[in-house]
Amino acid sequence: MTLEGLLFGLLSLAIFLALTRLVRGPSLPDRAVALDLMAVLTVGFIGIYAVVMNRPIFLDLALVLALIAFLGTVAFAHFIEKGELPWRKS
């Protein structure tokens, strides 16, 4: 087993475990936590992919994904707490 196979295998297993929580999670905040974790794991996956493929341009992608994942988490939290979407004030 090669080293990059080990790294990708570990991260794929991690994303699969987060996916089981996303499917199983009893409440909406559980699923939001699982989605947040999947986004963070994907940032790590992109970092490892950039190193393995020797393409540093992918690190920019990791930065953008981290930004968007944070926005998504805050939007989910706002939706759970207020019960409405932030741009649709009633």
């Binding site: 080293l3 987060a18 929580r21 974790l37 790590g44 990791a62 981290a66 939290a77």
Partner: protein
């Protein structure tokens, strides 16, 4: 030498992310799961980004990797706090074995403000 250190950091980071996912899949309660996912996964991504910065060895690329790291270290606690607060207001049940919930009765669920124990 830098290559060896970089590979070691990548493996350690991947292992930490796997530990975070195991915690999220197996811990009994939302807040315990959140503690696992936030801290361990952020540390794992930090290790991976440090390993990438060491592997490329170029200043411009290293700054980008470290910017990702700093951004994650700033936003992960903020996001986790916002989500945990929302989940507490939504009334997500705690684990049956929880011994104390020090926030119980101190939050006004209608106005979403914290009232201290001394207020009438």
């Amino acid at each position: 030498m830098a290559q060896v250190l970089s590979v070691a950091l990548l493996v350690i980071g991947a292992a930490f992310m796997l530990i975070a996912a195991i915690g999220v899949a197996r811990l009994p309660d939302l807040f315990m799961r959140m503690h696992s996912s936030t801290k361990s996964a952020t540390l794992g991504v930090g290790c991976v980004m440090l390993g990438a910065a060491l592997h490329f060895g170029d200043l411009a690329i290293a700054v980008r990797a470290l910017a990702t790291l700093v951004f994650l270290f700033i936003t992960a606690p903020v996001g986790a706090h916002v989500l945990a607060r929302a989940a507490y207001f939504a009334g997500v049940p705690l684990w049956q074995g929880t011994l104390s919930d020090e926030l119980r009765g101190h939050y006004d669920r209608a106005t979403h403000t914290l009232t201290g124990p001394n207020k009438p």
